[in-house]
Subunit: 339 residues, 2 copies
Amino acid sequence: MTTIYDIAKRTGYSPTTVSKAFNNYSDVREKTRQDIIRTAQEMGYVPNSHARTLTTKKSWTIGVLFIESTGVGIRHPFFSSVIESFKQVAVSKGYALMFISKDVGGKQSGYLENCRIRGVDGVVVFLSDYEDPYFQELLDSAIPTVILDFETPKSHTVCSNNMAGAILAVDHLASLGHRKIAHISGGVSTFPGSERERGYKASMKQLGLELPDSYIVPGPYYSLENGYSAMKGLLQLPDRPTAVFASGDLLALGAVMAAKDSGFSVPTDISVIGYDDIDLAKYVTPALTTIRQDTVLLGSQAADLLFSTIDKEHEGMEALQLPVELIVRDSCAPPRSVE
Amino acid sequence: MTTIYDIAKRTGYSPTTVSKAFNNYSDVREKTRQDIIRTAQEMGYVPNSHARTLTTKKSWTIGVLFIESTGVGIRHPFFSSVIESFKQVAVSKGYALMFISKDVGGKQSGYLENCRIRGVDGVVVFLSDYEDPYFQELLDSAIPTVILDFETPKSHTVCSNNMAGAILAVDHLASLGHRKIAHISGGVSTFPGSERERGYKASMKQLGLELPDSYIVPGPYYSLENGYSAMKGLLQLPDRPTAVFASGDLLALGAVMAAKDSGFSVPTDISVIGYDDIDLAKYVTPALTTIRQDTVLLGSQAADLLFSTIDKEHEGMEALQLPVELIVRDSCAPPRSVE
DNA sequence: AGGTAAATCGAAACCGGTTTCGATTTACCT
DNA sequence: AGGTAAATCGAAACCGGTTTCGATTTACCT
C-alpha cells in the first residue's frame, strides 16, 4: 500500500503538503498539487479511511439498524425500497452504509456499543420492536438517529401519515356507498398498525357509521395467511361487512383469496382495500385498490434529516409525516344493495 | 471517549499492558487483567476499531456489492434472504457488513477503490451485470471475494444447481404426461437464466421431446408482467404447449394470470411450474409448483467460503453448486389428452 | 543466601493520516 | 536594494491502538 509518505518521498514534498494537496488546502501551490495528484495516480495511491477517521473523528459511515423480530422478512420489500433511496443520498454525500447488530463475534454487546466501536456518524433505525432496551440505550445516546415508522421525541422520525391514509381508505369505501366497513388491523404492537387502526376508528366515527367490536380483527405480522384467516372470520359474521380495509397489502391479498375461496366475488360481493402499494398489487386479479406510501420520499427525507443533524445545521427533533395517496384499481365497488 | 491511556493512568499500568489485557496476552497476570477489565467497564471504555485496524490491517468488515442494473428490485427478495443468512455467520465471526458503491461523494471511483479505502477484508458479490469493468477490476485484485449466482474461475462462486433444477422441472412435467413443454426464459444475459435454459434444452433432448424455436420465449427481468406477455404469446401458438416451465416464480405467476385471462384454467388446461419458491408461491391460487432454492444454505456457504479464504485456511477457488428441490403444489397436472 | 528460569511488565516504534503554527520563499512595491 | 505582505511549505504533535523485545520481578531450587 502506498501512503502519503511514499508520495512525499517521490515528489520531494513533505507528507504535510501531500495531505494538504488532497484536502484542497489553499496554502499549496497549484503546480505542487498537480505534481502530487499525478504521482499519487501513478503510484496507485488510495487514502486509508481508518487513518483519516482516527484523527478527524469522522467515519463517513452510517449505521443501519434493521431487525425484524417478527420472524420472516414480511416487511422486507418495504424496507429494501426505503433503504435503497436512503442509500442513494448517503452515497452522494460520501457516506457508506453499515449494518449494526446487537452482538458481534459471539459476544453480546448492544447496538450502542457497536456504533461506538465503529464510530458511525449516525444511525438510521428500522425496527419492529421499539421496546428493545438496547435500542433505548442508543436512543438516549448522543449519536444522531433517524427512525422510520415510529414516533418519539428523542429522535428524528419519519413516517407516512398513517392516520390520513386510513381515513383516505375508509372515506373511499364510504364514498362508494359502503356503511359496513371492517378492518383487518396490523395490530397495536406496531406503530403504523395502531395509527391506521386509529385512523379507521376516527373515520368511522366521523362518518357516523356503526362499528361493532367484531369489525376489527387482527392480522398479525401483516402476513398473507393471517389476512386470509382474518377474512374468513369476517365472512362468518351474522352482520357481514360489505367492505374491508386491510392494514397491509399482503393482508388484503389474503383477504381477497379468502373471499374467493368462500364463494364471494371481489369487488362485486365485497370490496377490499389494502395499504402500501407493493409491486404485486397491480398485477393480482382484481388489481388491488390501496394506499400508496412514497418509499422513495421516505428514504430521502430520512437521509436529509439525519445529515442535517450530523452537519449541525439543525437543532431539535423533527417528526415528519409524509403524505400518502389513494390508488384506485379494481378491488372496490359499490355494495350490492346500493347498485 | 476513554482510551487505553485513560485506563492506564487510572490503573497505574502501562497502555501496553492494558492493550494486552484486552487481547488475552499470556504475559499479563490474571489479577492485572481483572483490574483493567473492571476499570474499563467503570470508565465506559469501548475500543476504537479504526485505531485497531490501522495497526492490524484487519477491518473486520465485509463489503457487500449488490447492484441491480435491471432497475426495480425484482430480485430483492431473493437477495435479502441470502444476505440475511450470510450476515448471520458474518456477525457470529465478528464481522460487520458494509455496502460498497461505485462512486462516493459525487466522485466516480469504482468498487475496488472503495474497498481499498475502507480496507474491507473481503467482498460478497451479487450483481446482475457481471460485465461491469469496475467489477472486473475488483475480480482481478487480491481481495477475497465470493460471488453469488455466477461462475468464474477467478473467485469463489456459489450457485444453486440451476441446470439440475431445470431438469427437475421438465422431468416433473414429463412425468405427468406432458410432451409439449415450453419455457419462459430468464434470458441468456443472466447466469441463472441461461443455465436454466440450458437445463431445459438438455432435458427436452434427453426425453426425446420436440422443441420448436417458438417454445422458448424470453421473460426479461423475471418480472410478472413479462411472464404475462410471454404466456399470451405461447397461448396463441398454433401448436399450443400443454405445460410451461418459467425461469422464475414471478414469471410463472404472470403466466398463470395470462392463462386465466385467456380463459384457460391452470392446471386443467395448462400446467405451469416456476422457479425460486418465493414466499408468495404457496398462497396464490393455484398454489405454485416450483423449484426451491435454499437461500439460507446459499448465504451460509458463501460466508464459509469467504471466511476460510480470509483466514487463509483455503487455497484456490471453489465453485459450489447447491442442490435444489422440487416443491409440488397445485399448478401442474396431467394434460387433458392423457386424462 | 545466591542462582536461575519463568512470570510479568513497559519503552519505543509503528500504522497512515490531519492540523497548527512557525519558517522560508516569492512577489511586488518604493 | 531593501522592505513588506502574501504565498508556500514543513516540523512536530496528535488520533488510539498493537507488537517486539528487553528489563524487572517473582517463584522456586539447592
